[in-house]
Subunit: 374 residues, 2 copies
């Protein structure tokens, strides 16, 4: 194997695949990055069994291949090395089968490769079940839903995000059974039928790689995997087995009252109102609608003290005496995920789920379950 490559281009691609690099693994070879040279291209691959990422570099101006080959380099050291190199180009060659020599300006590195025969075969195969959407749209969906998935492994299915498509509608739902985030998109043409649960962590890793632009991204679904094809990157994740709970009847449609807030004002008030509660674990705040249309957000933490915040909403559809208690963390995460500068909270009852919507958060619903307090 022998090739010369532009240092910046290589580092960028290493950063992409590094998202799938294993740290703790029963398969030591997965701490490595596989470098393959064939068909006038460099293929970089990393995998942690959950996610596998491959990038392909073919740019003839920035890459000069002299000899094909395959080698698995220790991932962490290799990336650090390329990051610290300041030269324009980097020169790679292998000798004695398992040793990689890297030359860059006045630097001369010798790196012991990992045993390439141990590297698992990873297939990045296309599927007939394909969805294509704007990458910016996908980023927004991920940001608005994954935070609501469960962190606990007791119900593994809830650590994933449900993706369902039928007809012209694609719906994405995340829930940890105390709150729920739902976003759907409608297109002009029919989607293939899809019913998959994607690990939330995989989507968060994908989100770190993709940009906020209008490049299309293809998502290929098979029964056990989803493959995202974006620019020169293949990002593959396993799916979670099992059936996602049916939440279609959970979202209320009739409301006692809807209250509209300035988003940032509400965030500040909740942050202050929950200041002391975040130090115990409850983070429960009480929300009271007064007959003068003001809202009181309050919390009491026995040892430390109490906070009362008064908020004047932008509007209130129905003024009534109303009190509800819930986790400030859930409300903050739901509101922060939204793009609208004005958001509406819709209540159905003092111990019933409430939802949050925003004018600029099209087809997005955030739902939170309240708690009973004395």
């Amino acid at each position: 194997m022998k090739f010369v490559i532009n240092r910046d281009l290589l580092l960028l691609n290493l950063t992409y695949v590094s998202r799938a690099l294993s740290t703790k693994t029963p398969m030591p070879v997965l701490t490595g990055i596989k470098i393959e040279i064939h068909d006038n291209a460099v293929f970089l691959t990393a995998s942690n069994n959950e996610i596998s990422i491959q990038t392909v570099i073919r740019d003839k101006r920035l890459l000069k291949i002299e000899e094909d080959g395959l080698v698995v380099v220790p991932g962490k050291y290799f990336i650090e090395m390329i990051r610290k190199i300041e030269s324009k180009d980097v020169d790679f060659s292998t000798f004695e089968e398992n040793i990689v020599k890297i030359l860059a300006d006045r630097s001369n590195f010798t790196l012991n490769a990992l045993e390439k025969d141990n590297y698992p075969l990873i297939s990045f195969a296309d599927s007939d079940t394909v969805v294509t959407i704007d990458v910016g749209n996908l980023k927004s969906i991920i940001r608005k839903t994954t935070f609501a998935t469960s962190l606990s492994e007791t119900r593994v299915i809830l650590t994933g995000v449900s993706v369902m498509a039928e007809g012209r509608k694609l719906e994405v739902i995340a829930t940890d059974s105390f709150r729920l985030a739902k976003k759907y998109i409608i297109t002009d043409t029919d989607f293939p039928k899809i019913n998959a649960v994607i690990p939330s962590k995989s989507l968060d890793e994908l989100n770190r790689i993709i940009d906020e632009n209008e490049t299309p991204i293809e998502i290929h679904f098979t029964p056990s995997k989803a493959l995202f094809k974006y620019k020169n990157i293949l990002f593959q994740t396993r799916l979670i087995d099992g059936s996602f709970p049916n939440t279609s009847n959970l979202i209320p449609v009739d409301f006692l009252t809807s209250i509209k807030f300035n988003k940032n004002e509400l965030i500040s008030a909740i942050e202050r109102a929950s200041l002391f509660t975040t130090f115990d674990s409850s983070s429960i705040i009480k929300f009271t609608l007064n007959s003068d249309k003001t809202i009181e957000i309050a919390s009491t933490t026995n040892e430390i003290g109490a906070v009362k915040e008064e908020v004047v909403p932008l509007g209130c559809s129905n003024v009534l005496n109303f009190q509800i208690a819930f986790s400030s963390k859930y409300l903050l995460e739901a509101i922060r995920s939204m793009d609208s500068t004005e958001i509406s909270v819709h209540f159905t009852g003092e111990i019933k789920p409430f939802i949050i919507t925003g004018d600029y958060d099209i087809n997005l619903t955030q739902l939170i379950l309240p708690v009973r307090v004395s």
Copy 2:
């Protein structure tokens, strides 16, 4: 107690005293900040037994006192609260002796105070043994020395920085017995006689409070304490008991060769040369002067690989065959502390200490002990 104070001014002063706030302490009252109102001023005090900090606020335009008093508020919560408040002014009052009420715009906080009678008496007394220097000068001294102190408590004296003054010379030395940093200043007038060892951590905390300017700072020495008086801040630290090792004969004056480098080029080369060694614990690199005046910096880490860096120095006083091995971490820390863009390394022998100096680092000497390698 009752007063109204500008929120930004209060937060700034809380940030200062927070540097001395206890987190883990056998005296729970030390997790609090003491707020005292008397003599038309607000006094904020925090202490962790090692460091005590007090600030005084008297600005009549930004402070309106209605009633004197004393209260100890839970430090962490109090600072977070003031940080989250967005109003211009904050209104404080106490009631029922141990409850503090804080009003700010539409926020209303009630905070349980700590038992003020438990707060220890802390004296910030002046001394006749006073040194006055520019605060920018002090910052520079701290930055160039404290990193060389010992982190291990086995020889407590080495966790401190020695400060000695006699005649017109004030000398500051830090060493962990493997390396040493020494900086002195000479003034026009005599210093009082001083021989003190200040905990390195205290100086690092002080460094976070003081600015890079020419305000004078007074340092008052007593046998067990040093008190720094800067702007409206009193910063007091205990001193370390015991006698600092005599290092005056340690610094060589005759050299085999002196080599001058571009500082940033040398840093980059060492960083690359020690890339793999930082993952084991040794971080030992070999430094070889070749007869063609080039320098080779190299390291080998059995499992991972090897690096060779070639550096062309700016100058070399005496070309000879010479090889020395040492910790790359020590050299990097020593060089990074320096302001000069060109630095010189002066060698006395292959297993003898070497020193580093720089044209713009006046009266600063960094010394490093090499290691024997096969």
